[in-house]
């Protein structure tokens, strides 16, 4: 084997730093994987790495300089470079990349046919996921529904909305995204659900809220009233002396929970005076001593 100093092209007095620099300069040019088609580069690279192996180790270098060892046998055994596999790998090897010339395949029949055949038979790549947004009605979110989504590129997608879905929740429809390449699986469709507002109900988690107007007589004397719920009206007893802001709970009339139970519907009462002035009521209140003594603002201290 040649003199390692000569191989790297450095002086015998070269510093370790200079040796490393010289090696890197040569290795960048000669590394077989950076020269996939050049058979000679491999031999040269092996020489250069063997030389560097010897000279980068201060101990070995000193022994070589004193003539105790020679440069032979210093070669590192190294069986394979990546290029050996890349060029022998079956077609469609996962790293190979054709993006370097797909532009001119567009205008060349032979090349595009070659690429098409290759991608049909061998390349596997999972298709990408596609995101959609689907606004749904409040009640569909509570009770569940099947909604048909019209896709921008044509076609439709049936989305099963589970009962109790939350605003902003994303449903994943397996295999409904972009098709894969070759034998690759298609991607998924990710459907983000937004729940539209309802004119009567609002929702917090699994509970439903409703503001329920009641008459003055129902508030003062109590009574049975009909209350809308997402699954139809139910009858509820308003206790005697109920006030605006009183909250009554209808157990189990809310949204389906994950554990299989249901949330509640919470009914906030609002006491309403008659829509038209009522002389009888006015006459009664004018003579009502208890009413004059009542100050609902006595706790309001700024």
């Amino acid at each position: 084997m040649k003199d390692p100093y000569e191989t790297l092209g450095v002086e015998h007095s070269a510093s370790p730093d200079a040796i490393q620099k010289a090696y890197r300069r040569l290795a960048k040019k000669l590394h077989p994987d950076l020269n996939p088609g050049n058979k000679e580069s491999e031999e040269r690279f092996k020489e250069v790495s063997a030389a560097y192996d010897l000279l980068s180790d201060a101990d070995k270098r000193a022994r070589y300089d004193r003539g105790e060892i020679d440069a032979s046998g210093a070669e590192k055994p190294r069986q394979h470079f990546y290029r050996d596999f890349a060029s022998e790998a079956p077609p469609g090897h996962s790293y190979e990349n054709y993006s370097g010339f797909t532009d001119f395949a567009d205008s060349d029949d032979i090349l595009s046919e070659l690429l098409r055949r290759r991608s049909n038979v061998h390349v596997r790549a999972r298709g990408s996921d596609v995101r959609y947004e689907l606004p749904i009605e409040f009640l569909d979110a509570v009770t569940g529904a099947v909604k048909r989504l019209t896709l921008p590129e044509g076609g439709t997608l049936d989305v099963t909305i589970p009962a109790g879905i939350q605003n902003g929740q994303v449903l994943r429809l397996r295999g409904k995204g972009r098709p894969g390449l070759g034998e690759g699986e298609p991607g998924d469709a990710l459907v983000e659900i937004t729940i539209k507002a309802h004119s009567l109900f609002t929702r917090e988690g699994n509970d439903i809220y409703i503001d329920l107007p009641i008459s003055l007589s129902e508030a003062v004397l109590g009574g049975r009233v009909n209350v809308p719920t997402p699954t139809g009206s139910v009858t509820m007893t308003v206790p005697k002396g109920s006030n605006t802001g009183t909250v009554l709970r209808l157990r189990g009339k809310g949204v389906l929970r994950r554990d299989g139970g249901h949330g509640d519907e919470l009914v906030r009462l609002q006491v309403m005076l008659p829509e038209l002035p009522d002389t009888e009521l006015e006459a009664f209140v004018a003579g009502w001593q208890g009413g004059k003594a009542h100050d609902p603002r006595r706790d309001m201290q700024p």
């Binding site: 290795a27 590394h31 890349a86 790998a89 090897h93 990349n97 054709y98 370097g100 070659l114 690429l115």
Partner: protein
């Protein structure tokens, strides 16, 4: 020939964290056979290439990604070139 993750890590002398990071960077793309990562001899050699770039040639992490991408493109080009030549000869 394919080998599983454990065998690959032994043969490539690669630690779990490094392997994860390299897969995240898409320097390595294991084949997925029913949820289990599978590797090949090509992957072992690719690890050696990444090591050469990082350790011997002083390439930084960004550079490694760029180089691997270009190397992959070169191999794609070489393969199509080979087939193109073959089909030309067959036609002639």
């Amino acid at each position: 020939m394919t080998i599983n993750k454990r065998e690959f890590m032994v043969r490539a002398q690669l630690e779990d964290k490094t392997l994860e990071a390299w897969i995240r960077e898409e320097w390595l793309i294991p084949a997925d056979s029913t949820g289990e990562m599978m590797f090949s001899d090509a992957d072992v050699a690719r690890v050696q290439l990444i090591r050469d770039l990082k350790n011997d040639l002083g390439v930084n992490d960004e550079g490694v990604g760029v180089i691997l991408n270009l190397v992959d493109q070169v191999h794609g080009l070489r393969r199509v070139m080979t087939e193109l030549l073959r089909s030309m000869h067959n036609r002639a």
